[in-house]
Amino acid sequence: MNPFEFLRGLWTTFLNFLERPVTYQYPEIKRPVRERFRGRHELKRYDNGLEKCIGCALCAAACPADAIFVEAAENTDEDRFSPGERYASTYEINFLRCIFCGFCEDACPTEAIVLEHNYELSYTDRRSAIYGKDKLLVPVPEGGQPTPMKVEPGSFDRAVPEMEDPT
């Protein structure tokens, strides 16, 4: 037992005492998340306002936690929600089950579902943890029209858009 070492220990902690705290005062100051952070999902739209989701339920099939429920319905040119034949009439994610793995995002053929940066999820009961289309769908972009929209027959026949070559 070297008494000098004891004093050195005290001095070390005292130097720490004088340092500025590293704490973020959370609700007032938020740390930005990483670009690839997986937060709450959003259902995206095309620039003209049509929903990207075509109701294929591949996300529900890919989901390891069985958190996603999709019910599809037929599109018509009178009431068009999305390009192609079908759209998701019901799209629900149970956030009590969701593990934010991002498999749904990988499975989606139209890049309709994206895990965004919102991590501030809280619920007061189990029912309100199930988010429907009303909460998941992003607002109509500028210059677009709300769905369902009336379109020229034959203009949106293709369900999956032409993808850009990633290379």
Partner: protein, 335 residues
């Protein structure tokens, strides 16, 4: 006349001891959490009220509404009595600590002037170990029992060094009643005893930290080994009482240290403005409390056998040596 006397005692007991110790202990938890947070480069509780000042009150309310569990196998009577036995000594220890001088007929000296004040401190401080041992035993939980046994062994070991550390100020007090805390404080008007007894002061602080079971001597409640030690099975208000006792004792130990070694209420201009006395005393107490928190932030817990070895093989001989040298010097120099 008797009625007035009884009333006076009641007010003294209720206001000074109960309210001061309870509030002091509550805000000591706040003080410790804030200071400890700064040592760990954090901020600490700052949400409840301005600067988090309402945090202790929020904690108390939370503890009051918690479910009060008594384990089925527990010895019910002892289980309930144990926290009371632990908390009462912490509350009544302050009775002999003088908080200010008597000048111009203004008596700030509210404390009881008994001629065996130091003995009183020693005697009452030792009672708390019964509460902890009983709490550990009556819980019918092996971790609690281990905590209680450790507390007993540790407190008995360090009490000897603590008592011997008290001998220094008693020897140095040149008066008819050197055991009276008042006389000890009065003797320090010109020179604090910490200057004459630096080793005694160090021994006192170390033994006191061990006596109140705080890091690095928090063996009876070592979280990693014993979950929470003797108060593992306690919840609600009973747990709050243990908490109160722990922090109350921390407060009291600092008061005693400030009184016996750091000159009590003495400081510049106390003779002119007696009201400064309590302020000085409190400032010294806060410095000692800060030191105790600082120790906790710095040192890891000692291993149990090393703790006992340190107490018996180092602290006790050192304290005895200190007493011998002090006594010899006083005889030679002539006090």
């Amino acid at each position: 006349m008797d009625l007035v006397l009884v009333l006076e005692w009641t007010i003294k007991a209720a206001v000074i001891l109960m309210v001061f110790v309870v509030l002091g202990a509550a805000y000591l938890t706040y003080f410790e959490r804030r200071m400890l947070a700064r040592f760990q480069v954090r901020i600490g509780p700052n949400r409840a009220g301005p600067f988090g000042l309402l945090q202790p009150i929020a904690d108390t309310i939370k503890l009051m509404f918690k479910e009060d569990l008594i384990p089925e196998q527990a010895d019910k009577v002892l289980f309930i009595v144990a926290p009371i036995i632990t908390v009462i000594p912490a509350m009544i220890l302050l009775a002999v600590i003088p908080i200010g001088p008597e000048v111009w007929g203004i008596n700030l000296d509210l404390a009881a002037d008994i001629n065996v004040g130091v003995l009183y401190i020693m005697a009452v401080a030792s009672i708390a170990v019964y509460g902890i041992a009983i709490a550990g035993w009556s819980s019918a939980n092996k971790y609690s029992l281990m905590g209680g046994i450790r507390a007993t062994a540790q407190m008995i070991s360090y009490e000897l060094a603590l008592a011997l550390a008290f001998v220094g100020p008693i020897l140095l007090t040149n008066s008819e009643n050197p055991m009276s805390v008042h006389e000890i404080v009065r003797a320090q008007q010109s020179l604090w005893f910490v200057v004459l007894q630096p080793v005694g002061f160090l021994i006192y602080m170390m033994a006191a930290v061990a006596e109140i079971n705080r890091a690095p001597f928090d063996m009876p409640e070592a979280e990693q080994e014993l979950t929470a030690g003797y108060h593992t099975e306690y919840s609600g208000l009973k747990f709050a009482l243990f908490y109160l006792a722990e922090y109350g004792k921390m407060l009291v130990v600092s008061f005693i240290g400030a009184t016996l070694f750091l000159g009590g209420y003495w400081g510049p201009f106390v003779n002119q403005v007696p009201l400064l006395g309590p302020v000085y005393l409190l400032a010294k107490v806060v410095v000692l409390l800060y030191f105790i928190v600082w120790l906790r932030a710095t040192y890891p817990r000692l291993r149990y056998d090393k703790l006992m070895a340190f107490g018996w093989k180092f602290m006790l001989p050192l304290a005895l040596l200190n007493v011998m040298i002090t006594a010899s010097v006083i005889v030679l120099v002539g006090g």
